[in-house]
Subunit: 254 residues, 2 copies
């Protein structure tokens, strides 16, 4: 009875962006757990059981996968992007800390993946080319004032921001409120990148400015990057503009 | 004469963590540019020229690769980790903005990779499981007071931190100064992860606390993760501890 659990990052969606390490971890598993649409990206294999679940059920999903592994299963939990960035790895660790004692003895491996912020940044240039942060706009698990405090800290500190979970049917106003908050700190011309489903057939990328950014462009599959005061947009003849943040900062006011 | 430049993320070092997309981009190139040790990770192929350079020459290296592409070459620039995170993508974009006009017309693609912070985080659990930031401690391209201001903003904002370029022969004191600075804001028990060469044969990972963290553990191949006040260390019988940051934040003081 030596079960195991691998928490596997699928990357942004295109199979070409999933690592061989992740592909191997999926191939070795005899049971797959995960949010339904992520599980659907993994080709079916005979003899491999699948346990899809809804997207609000991370804790229960992690517990079920750990329990399955504790009963001797070779289990893989799939995660979009990177499992360590607003995804399943923290939910699994929470269950290991607070759940059955046997779960602490399990062979647990986290297999990293290309997170959405890296995929979106690569598509437009190098907006994360200098110091940056990643903030989830979801207030399901933290109070909105904490989000605001972090937006303030990031903007006044000169960080570029990758905003995860910008909007959903249950959270329609948060991205607009975040833009309003950031307008207190950042110039209207600050570049904003909306990267939707990057790497998938329905990909779309919109480059805007903070003063004109329309939150309605974003949906649940969108990652939003907010530049710093130093972030540049470079126009190119016949091509999409490049968005990047220079590596050098000249003085402490920047 | 339709040249192209692909800026390719090799990931943390183990070939299993490089995406198929990156492998394809390298295979299609007829010339490879990059920092010598990164180029050395790419298997030789006959007919493919190599142009290694030193690690302080990003601007000149980017210009040489763009010039080669503008002369019709199919060029790949290799980058460790992800090219968009303190690596070659921003250096290339800078050259496109400020260099020869023809460079703006080039076919330029950035191919993302697993960045060091994702690889190190995965190795220990999920320390980046909540809002986090990435800060380069190098003061070659920005004044040290900017680094201090960002450490203050990140720590007081409750962000976990991934510290890139923590130390080098020319920059021996910066990581120690950063720890001293962070001790003003964070509890002594705050977990620190030193992840060196993760995914490579000489990998080593050390888990410490802020009060006892020894900067001398780090070298040029090390990525340092500094937890927030909420980051947890979970002991496991017969296994390395898990380090993770819970997804939930209860109130604005956290």
């Amino acid at each position: 009875m030596s079960g195991s659990l691998a928490v596997v990052g699928l990357g942004p969606g295109n199979p070409d962006t999933m690592t061989p390490e992740a592909a191997t971890a999926l191939a070795l598993a005899d049971a797959l757990y995960g949010y339904g649409p992520y599980l659907a990206r993994v080709p079916a294999r005979s003899g491999q059981a699948r346990y899809p679940s809804d997207n609000r059920e991370e804790g229960a999903r992690a517990a079920a996968a750990l329990d399955h592994a504790a009963r001797g299963g070779k289990v893989a939990m799939v995660s979009g992007g990177d499992p360590g960035v607003f995804a399943m790895a923290a939910a699994v660790c929470e269950q290991v800390e607070h759940g059955a004692e046997a779960w602490r003895g399990l062979d647990l491996v986290i297999v990293p993946g290309i997170s959405a912020m890296l995929a979106v940044a690569a598509r437009v240039g190098a907006p994360l080319g200098h110091d940056f942060c990643a903030i989830s706009l979801s207030d399901n698990l933290k109070p909105w004032p904490v989000v605001e405090q972090r937006l303030d800290a990031a903007a006044s500190g000169g960080f570029v921001m990758a905003l995860y979970n910008p909007i959903s049917r249950a959270r329609p106003w948060q991205l607009g409120a975040a833009f309003d908050r950031l307008r207190r700190h950042l110039p209207g011309a600050t570049p904003i990148v909306f990267g939707r489903a990057v790497g998938r057939p329905d990909e779309s990328v919109v480059i805007a400015t903070l003063e004109a950014a329309d939150p309605a462009i974003a949906d649940m599959s969108t990652l939003v990057i907010v530049g710093s005061a130093l972030t540049r947009v470079v126009e190119r003849p016949g091509r999409e503009p490049l968005v990047y943040t220079p590596r050098a900062v000249k003085d402490a006011s920047a």
